[in-house]
């Protein structure tokens, strides 16, 4: 189980790293939202899920899966809240 968990962990970290690169490289607020909103959902789910895989069928793993469920729910909502706040504050989207 441990090698599988390690691979899952690395894949999760790759997505989080891609999100960070996206925040640094993308040109404006809205495009950066894409990088964070997407990569955090899968990145955190995989990273934390790998810990649950390592832990096996324990209560701690159940708690970790709860974290995954709540992050999956909260992340698009937070992304939307940020985007909406920016839109209402009048930030113009970047155009090529």
């Amino acid at each position: 189980m441990t090698p599988v968990a390690d691979v899952v962990l690395l894949v999760g970290l790759f997505f989080i790293a891609a999100g960070v690169v996206g925040v640094l490289r993308l040109p404006d607020f809205y495009t950066r939202l894409h990088a964070l909103g997407k990569s955090d959902t899968l990145g955190v789910a995989l990273t934390v899920g790998a810990l649950a895989l390592r832990g096996g069928a324990t209560l701690t793993s159940a708690k970790i899966l709860l974290i995954v469920a709540f992050v999956t729910l909260a992340n698009p909502t937070a992304t939307h809240a940020l985007g909406r706040a920016a839109y209402r504050a009048g930030i113009a989207p970047w155009r090529r």
């Binding site: 996206g22 495009t31 939307h80 209402r88 989207p93």
Partner: protein, 212 residues
């Protein structure tokens, strides 16, 4: 004794089933209302209790009793905030009752695939040397039947590749698309169809809007 408008605000499904019982209970005043809210909040209490057990990890009588007490108390205190008036249609008493649960596993699978695709998409764009983005705003005029359906569709759009929902109102959605292709994908309406299929109750007015 109690203000009758309270009963209207709560829209107790058990009360509408049997009007005579509702009248009797409301005449009992505060205690009757408390009992009614307790029964109505029982599913939520059970959910909170399971949550408590998972988080505490202790199964002795004292902890379970404390958990059950807290779960019921929280459910009683917050029940009125969480059980908003039904906006699902005439026959459903709660938003969750309006979900086509048989289609829910398929929807979850589709959403999981969308999340993975979205992550690969954004990672590819971000790590691409030239960063091929053509951001644009898309107005999507697809009214959903009720607030819960709007929430599900707005969050689903955010999780599908290259799109983030910026604003939601009764008429539709304002979506920021990262590339022109993701904007085209959104307009093709796959996400909208998937989410609309998830709900049982669509009133005729929004049904017309959806087919527009």
């Amino acid at each position: 004794m109690r203000d009758p408008s309270d009963g209207r605000l709560m829209r107790d499904p058990t009360a509408t089933d049997d009007p005579s019982m509702a009248e009797r209970e409301s005449s009992q005043g505060y205690l009757g209302r408390l009992v009614r809210e307790f029964w109505r909040g029982l599913p939520f209490s059970a959910l909170l209790f399971v949550f408590w057990i998972v988080l505490s990890g202790k199964f002795d009588g004292g902890h379970l009793l404390a958990g059950a007490t807290c779960a019921m108390a929280v459910s009683l205190w917050t029940g009125r905030l969480l059980c908003l008036p039904p906006q699902v249609g005439l026959s459903a008493s709660h938003p969750l009752a309006g979900v086509f649960w048989l289609r829910f596993p398929m929807y979850l699978l589709w959403l999981a695939r969308q999340v993975v695709t979205a992550n690969l998409h954004v990672a590819w764009i971000v790590l691409h040397p030239r960063m091929p983005i053509q951001p644009c705003l898309v107005r999507l005029d697809k009214p959903a039947p009720h607030t819960f359906a709007r929430l599900v569709l707005a969050n689903s759009i955010t999780l599908t590749p290259g799109t983030v929902t910026l604003d939601v109102d009764t008429a539709g959605y304002l979506v920021h698309a990262l590339t022109s292709r993701s904007a085209a994908n959104l307009r093709s309406g796959d996400a909208v169809r998937r989410c609309q299929a998830l709900f049982l109750h669509t009133d005729p007015e929004s049904g017309q809007g959806g087919s527009r």
